[in-house]
């Protein structure tokens, strides 16, 4: 076991866990932040996506020992960011969600895309969102919502 000082959503958090514990389980089990979801556990579905130093990161495969000082942002705080807020509004406006399980990861990836590519093409969206699976197949609405968020964020 080791103790880590984390910066999660702008707050200092201290956890004492096994160094090999994935960030996902530190968020969910130790910090009780359950907005980030467990999907596949092998970075194949994107449900666990959070931002680490601004990079969309699959929290299920990154051990806590490799996070260091880098700030972590989760779905719980993404609405505090203007682009994050625009994406959440667009998700509601387009009624994207069906079962909803994958959607926190979808939103985190969408925000990462829009921060780098404010006006994404269909190809940009397909490439950046290609690692986020939705078993309800809400992909068409996700694309519409990302375009809508891009318009709102102008």
């Amino acid at each position: 076991m080791a103790t880590y000082q984390l910066n999660v959503n702008g707050q200092r958090k201290e956890v004492t866990v096994d160094p090999s514990t994935p960030l996902l389980w530190v968020l969910r089990e130790d910090l009780k932040m359950t907005g980030t979801k467990y999907g596949c556990g092998v970075s194949a579905c994107g449900a666990c996506t959070v931002h680490v130093a601004g990079v969309a990161t699959r929290s299920c495969v990154v051990p806590i020992s490799l996070i260091g000082e880098r700030p972590v942002v989760t779905i719980e705080a993404i609405g505090e960011d203007p682009i994050g807020r625009a994406v959440q509004n667009a998700w509601v406006e387009k009624d994207v969600v069906q079962c909803g399980y994958c959607q926190s990861g979808q939103i985190m990836s969408a925000v990462a895309l829009l921060k780098h590519t404010p006006k994404p093409t269909d190809t940009n969206i397909e490439e950046s969102m290609g690692g986020n699976l939705c078993r309800c197949a809400t992909y068409v609405r996700i694309r519409e919502a990302i375009k809508s968020a891009a318009e709102q964020s102008k």
Partner: protein
Amino acid sequence: MPRIRATNFLISLLVLALGAWMIVSSTLGQARRSAATRAQGLAGWEQVYQVLTHPRCINCHTATSYPQQGDDRHRHISNVIRGPEGKGVPGLNCASCHQETNADSTGVPGGHNWHLAPLSMKWQDLNDRPLSSAAVCRAVTDRSKNHNLDGPGLLKHHEEEALVLWAWNPGRRPDGTMRTLPPLTHQEFVAATRRWVEAGTPCPTGR
């Protein structure tokens, strides 16, 4: 007097003949040594080629828009694509999973500046088949394609580059087993590269 002139002439002739023989024999010797060095260099290159086309190396030297993974060199999971700088795209970067070091507890390999090699350094064709030894050698030694590396630069790259070194410390797979290593040790790989570089980086002929 005529006898002395004739003797002098004969001596001069002998000296000239001896000089010519020394020059010819020295040139032949140099040619033999040069041929031997080239042969040694080519043998060194063939060892280098065996490493470069091992999955630990060639999986990120693709000709396609995606990396590969595993010893069977299958397409990378999660629809990962190359992106403009070989580091994926926003939302799905290499760094979305690959950190500065291997993550053995989750089976994700990592190293500094994890990225795909540029297309100029592709060592496969579009069907993911490794290029020939001659073709890879030509690409590796083409300074317009290899970041302007000369022979010593290539040797230094093989000795020190973080992602080259990673191939000999590739960590564990998600099932906990160790990833396979290239067919030479890193020390042997560097020694083979050195022999090849010292021979002037000769390349095999052919396509």
